[in-house]
């Protein structure tokens, strides 16, 4: 037995869309009998990429989330399919039978990740097969992983303890894209963006000089974090929780301490945090 998976490291992704394009090259107009019908020209994204912009000028952050089929171990699409039209292979890959699935639009709607697409011409649900037809021919990786320039996509067998993906899954902070869906996805992520707060410490009366090395703390949501400003007087706390209340406190000798409290309804740029001399 094996459990094939793709581990997606959001921190390494540069948003080049190679994965999306190589996937489309593999499937557009190409039928792989027993595996998948040809992908049509429009509206199908078996490997889609979402650009996530966070924060405010001049401290924005950009991330990309590559999103194939999650190949869930508790796959709602399998439950929704009739006649075994969706099934899990012994290697964990969830497949839609391109013959049996004909007419079964319920399969599309069953997927909470929205990664199954309806081919209206063929009356067929379609999605990522992890390039099962290629793996069965002896290829080592799906096209998307092969084309990734940064190693942001890693493919392999989670049950093979010597595989890179198994090792990374142990050493990295790995999570599902939407654990709340409860589908036990085999595709896993590292570095899914959360909320962040940024700001710049400025000394009143000394606006011509940055304020490096100033201690800044953040409390709230059970956290008690500390950092120091960089050479530009900038500070940042990453990986904070949505809608949580936090307080940032800045203190340095000779200046009155300052506290700012906020609720993380969105990523927060505190802008200039001006400290007045004591």
């Amino acid at each position: 037995m094996s459990r094939y998976s793709i581990l997606i490291d959001v921190n390494k992704c540069n948003g080049c869309y190679n994965c999306f394009l190589s996937c489309r090259d593999e499937y557009y107009g190409n039928e792989y009998p027993g595996y998948s019908a040809a992908q049509p020209l429009n509206d199908q994204f078996w490997m889609q990429v979402a650009e996530i912009e966070r924060g405010e000028y001049p401290k924005p952050k950009i991330s990309y989330i590559a999103k194939p089929c999650m190949h869930c171990e508790s796959a709602p699409c399998i439950d929704a399919a009739k006649d075994g039209a969706v099934y899990r292979r012994d290697d964990g890959i969830v497949m839609i039978d391109p013959v049996k699935a004909k007419g079964q639009e319920a399969i599309v709607n069953a997927c909470p990740y929205r990664v199954i697409f309806w081919n209206s011409e063929l009356q067929l649900p379609q999605k990522c097969t992890m390039c099962a037809h290629r793996l069965d021919e002896g290829e080592k990786q799906p096209r998307c992983v092969e084309s990734c320039p940064t190693g942001a996509l890693v493919f392999g067998d989670l049950d093979d303890q010597n595989s890179e993906i198994a090792k990374l899954s142990k050493s990295l902070d790995v999570e599902s894209l939407h654990p709340e869906f409860g589908t036990d996805s085999l595709v896993k992520y590292v570095g899914i963006p959360k909320r962040f707060v940024a700001g710049e410490v400025v000394f009143a009366g000394k606006e011509g000089e940055c304020a490096p090395g100033v201690k800044v703390t953040l409390t709230g949501g059970g956290l008690n974090l500390e950092t120091v400003t960089d050479i530009f007087g900038d500070f940042e706390f990453e990986r904070l929780e949505k809608n949580e209340s936090y307080t940032v406190a800045v203190s340095v000798d000779g200046y009155a301490a300052k506290e700012v409290s906020f609720v993380m309804r969105k990523d927060v740029n505190l802008g200039e945090v001006v400290l007045d001399p004591k």
Partner: protein, 838 residues
């Protein structure tokens, strides 16, 4: 028929092409035998860095199959319906009238008889023609091959290219540190190793290497920057747009007002001088003219000290931030990355862009340019690379069908008359035109001072224009002029020979369908340019020469460019002179034979296997760029075109003094009184910027850099899969619009919301785009990439019509960098923007 796998190469990576029943089914990054790779290893900070055994090609290469079968392919020869070579030609209808399919015989007869007529009536100089760069790959088929050979036989008037992507470095930096033989860009040898071992900070100034990718080298260098990030090397990005490299690298983003980068640079020098934190020993030993420069920086010559506070006024960057950056730069080993090839970048493609590029060199000159971790490096070249094995590249004289000595005869064009790409429309519409500089001035500094005038005495104005492979409406400046030029009766005959319909194709009288490099035989090394950009393949983790195998027959009625020119030559009675008695495949073999490859692989094996990887030797010796200069040694890098290398002046740079020139001796000798490119660089406010009179009317600055998902105008319109990448185009109401990015405050002020169709306009043009409201541009800046391939005027044939294809270059000025510097200035462009109500 079973599946066959061929090898081929694109302008951004090698590919394996799978063909079944005569149809291409997939294209993968070239699948090479693992045994053929020998990876290099760089040891730094206790870690070993080695690339994977694969080729990280550019995104659009994965869509090449779609481009091959594009609906935009020119399938048959065509004639404009109201063009009659023996009667009414109706040039005013170019761009407006439809076309009818004609036979190859008819098309060739018309083209041939027009060439004869024009040549007999006015002489060869009345024929001109122009190419774009790299709509395909392979040295046999490249524009400098068959096109140039054919045109030289006709004794045509060549059109000189401007150094479009690196103007300021070409016309400015050369007068500061030489490297004219690299057109102003510095050598980049072994700088990956230098940066991994020594760099503590990298300042990417007007540089987005994840987007521009070292031009032809795909994405191999993405991993290098990831290594540097993981190693903790600090990154600073100076760019009005929070670019894609900044997005993935993070680091500090400084967004200066467009046109003020030179002021920012001056103030950094001011901090270094006033705080005494620069490399005085280096300045004393390796540079000239520092005292005069220092006086200007301190305000002793013009009364204005170039303080951070002064620069803040101009650039909008806080003085404290400038100070902090300057101090860190001096204190830490800092690499300056002033464009994808070391030089380049949007800051050099604007008014007085020479001054910024010169300042980039001088700033590093103050910190010991060439010392460990103190270099100028674009982050896209300079991997360990074997440089002794020579294989011809397109810019090598020995890599061109037109000039290589493997030919029995080399046609020499006796016509001395020249045109210049940037002034071509003016030359046709309103001659005479004149300019300084011989286009790409890679032979000497003096080439930049040569004066040209068109028409040249003793030669004809041009009457026949032969356009080949691409379009400039989306890439040059103030480009509605090109439409006006085409509609001029002075151009009696216009041919367009291309693979796809481009913006200029429908301006022709006759259209000839060419085929792609997948439909013919060729050979090419990935990423290699040769000539003035020698050893560019050090931007790839592995040198690979690809036998570009013909994967399928030319589709529809298309033919290879070589064959088209052969057929016309045949009708002109000069076939043998054109072909040199060789087929395309014989040219391929002749180039192979002339190279060093036969010492490593037989033709038979290379031809069959389809590729050869040139690995580095076991005893590879690293020679970091300019280390020799910093250490006062003879040049030890493989920079073959450096004219002083290996001579008694081997320790010198290519400047007149042989040193870094704070006061340029070449400018002093030729243009001593030029206030727009003074002998020592100055900050000069842009002639179209925030100090200009029209700023009130057009208060937004357009930034139009090189694009991320298309190469020049190639791929975009011909590869509709790319329309599903919203960074590239955004689909709305059944149309794929070109994005224009703007700051939320600018959007709010104008009632513009995300995804609205907007009109970008000024007195030159109107272009429709889709609004992308983002925190990633500074207030007052509209970011929209250059290089839309789609010129789609609402009223076809009307040069004043709004374009909805996204050719924002129509908005940009045709004014040059400065009076003696004939470079393009797309980033000195003021516009206004409004919601388009239709």
């Amino acid at each position: 028929m079973s599946e066959q796998v061929f090898t081929n190469c694109t302008n951004a990576g090698p590919v394996s092409v799978y063909v079944k029943d005569g149809k291409v089914t997939r294209m993968r990054p070239l699948v090479a035998d693992e045994k053929d790779f020998k990876s290099w290893t760089i040891e730094a900070g206790g870690k070993k860095y080695s690339p994977p055994k694969k080729f990280a090609v550019a995104p659009y290469v994965h869509a090449d199959r779609r481009r091959l079968y594009s609906e935009e392919r020119i399938k048959y020869p065509m004639k404009r319906v109201d063009f009659d070579p023996n009667g009414e030609r109706n040039p005013q209808n170019r761009g407006k009238s439809p076309y009818e399919r004609i036979s190859w015989d008819e098309a060739l007869d018309i083209v041939t008889s027009e060439i004869k007529r024009v040549k007999d009536t006015y002489g060869g100089s009345a024929i001109s023609g122009m190419t774009s760069s790299h709509h395909n790959w392979g040295i046999v088929g490249y524009k400098m091959g068959p096109f140039a050979r054919f045109m030289n036989l006709l004794e045509f008037t060549p059109v000189l290219d401007n150094p479009d992507s690196w103007e300021g470095w070409h016309w400015g930096a050369t007068h500061t540190y030489g490297f004219f033989w690299r057109l102003g860009m510095p050598e980049q040898y072994d700088l990956l190793e230098d940066s991994l071992k020594n760099a503590e900070m990298i300042v990417l100034w007007s540089n987005d290497p994840d987007t521009t990718r070292g031009t032809y080298t795909g994405q191999d260098s993405v991993l290098w920057r990831q290594w540097l990030k993981e190693k903790g090397v600090k990154m600073v990005f100076i760019d009005p747009f929070h670019n894609y490299t900044a997005g993935v690298m993070e680091g500090k983003w400084l967004a200066p007002r467009i046109g003020t980068d030179t002021a920012l640079a001056m103030s950094i020098a001011h901090v270094w001088i006033t705080e005494d934190i620069y490399d005085k020993e280096y300045v004393k030993e390796r540079t000239v003219g520092f005292d005069e420069f220092k006086k200007y920086v301190l305000g002793e010559t013009d009364g204005q000290p170039k303080t951070p506070e002064w620069a803040e006024e101009e650039s909008g960057i806080k003085a404290r931030v400038i100070r902090a950056l300057a101090r860190e730069w001096a204190a830490k080993r800092t690499i300056l990355s002033g464009g994808a090839r070391g030089g380049e970048g949007g800051a050099c493609r604007q008014a007085y862009g020479t001054e910024w590029a010169r300042m980039m060199v001088l700033l590093q000159g103050m910190q010991g340019l060439g010392k460990p971790g103190r270099t100028i490096w674009g982050t896209t070249m300079g991997a360990p690379s074997e440089t002794t094995t020579w294989f011809p590249a397109y810019a090598d004289l020995q890599g061109r069908v037109s000039t290589a000595s493997i030919a029995k005869s080399i046609p020499i064009n006796p016509t001395k008359q020249r045109l210049y790409r940037l002034t071509l429309p003016d030359a046709v519409l309103d001659p005479p035109v004149s300019w300084y500089g011989e286009g790409f001035c890679g032979q000497s500094l003096e080439q930049q001072f040569t004066h040209f005038e068109y028409p040249m005495e003793g030669y004809s104005e041009i009457k026949l224009f032969y356009r080949y492979g691409g379009s400039f409406i989306g890439t040059m400046s103030d480009t509605s002029k090109w439409v006006r030029m085409y509609q001029s009766p002075k151009l009696e005959f216009v041919v367009n020979q291309d693979i796809w319909f481009n913006s200029e194709t429908r301006m022709a009288d006759i259209i000839l369908p060419a085929c792609t490099n997948f439909e013919r035989d060729d050979v090419g090394e990935w990423g290699a340019c040769g000539g003035y950009t020698c050893h560019a393949s050090s931007g790839c983790n592995y040198r690979i020469v690809v036998r570009q195998q013909k994967c399928l027959e030319p589709m529809w009625e298309s033919k290879s460019d070589f064959e088209i020119f052969s057929l016309i030559s045949d009708r002109l009675g000069i076939k043998e002179k054109f072909t040199d008695g060789k087929t395309e495949l014989e040219w391929v073999k002749a180039f192979f034979d002339s190279s060093d490859l036969p010492e490593q692989v037989s033709w038979e094996e290379f031809n069959k296997k389809g590729y050869h990887i040139i690995n580095i030797p076991d005893d590879y010796k690293s020679t970091p760029s300019l280390r020799w200069f910093a250490e006062g040694r003879d040049c030890d890098t493989p920079d073959t075109n450096n004219p002083k290398r290996g001579t008694l002046q081997g320790k010198e740079l290519g400047t007149y003094s042989g040193k870094i020139e704070f006061v340029s001796e070449s400018l002093k000798a030729h243009f001593p009184d030029d206030e727009e490119r003074p002998v020592s660089p100055h900050y000069l406010p842009s002639w179209e910027g925030h100090h200009s009179d029209i700023y009130e009317k057009y208060p937004l600055q357009l930034l139009s850099p090189h694009p991320r998902f298309t190469f020049h105008c190639h791929y975009d319109k011909h590869t509709d899969w790319l329309d599903d990448i919203p960074i590239h185009r955004v689909k709305k109401d059944g149309y794929a619009w070109w994005p224009a990015r703007l700051h939320p405050e600018d959007a709010k002020l104008r009632g513009i919301q995300n995804n609205d169709i907007v009109r970008l306009y000024n007195d030159r043009a109107s272009v429709l785009c889709i609004a992308v409201v983002t925190e990633r541009v500074r207030l007052g800046v509209i970011h929209s990439y250059a290089s839309s391939a789609k010129y789609d005027p609402l009223t076809p044939g009307d040069a004043d019509s709004p374009d909805r294809g996204g050719c924002v270059n129509m908005l940009t000025p045709s004014r040059m960098l400065s009076k003696n510097v004939p470079g393009m200035t797309p980033n000195s462009c003021l516009i206004e923007i409004e919601k388009w109500e239709g």
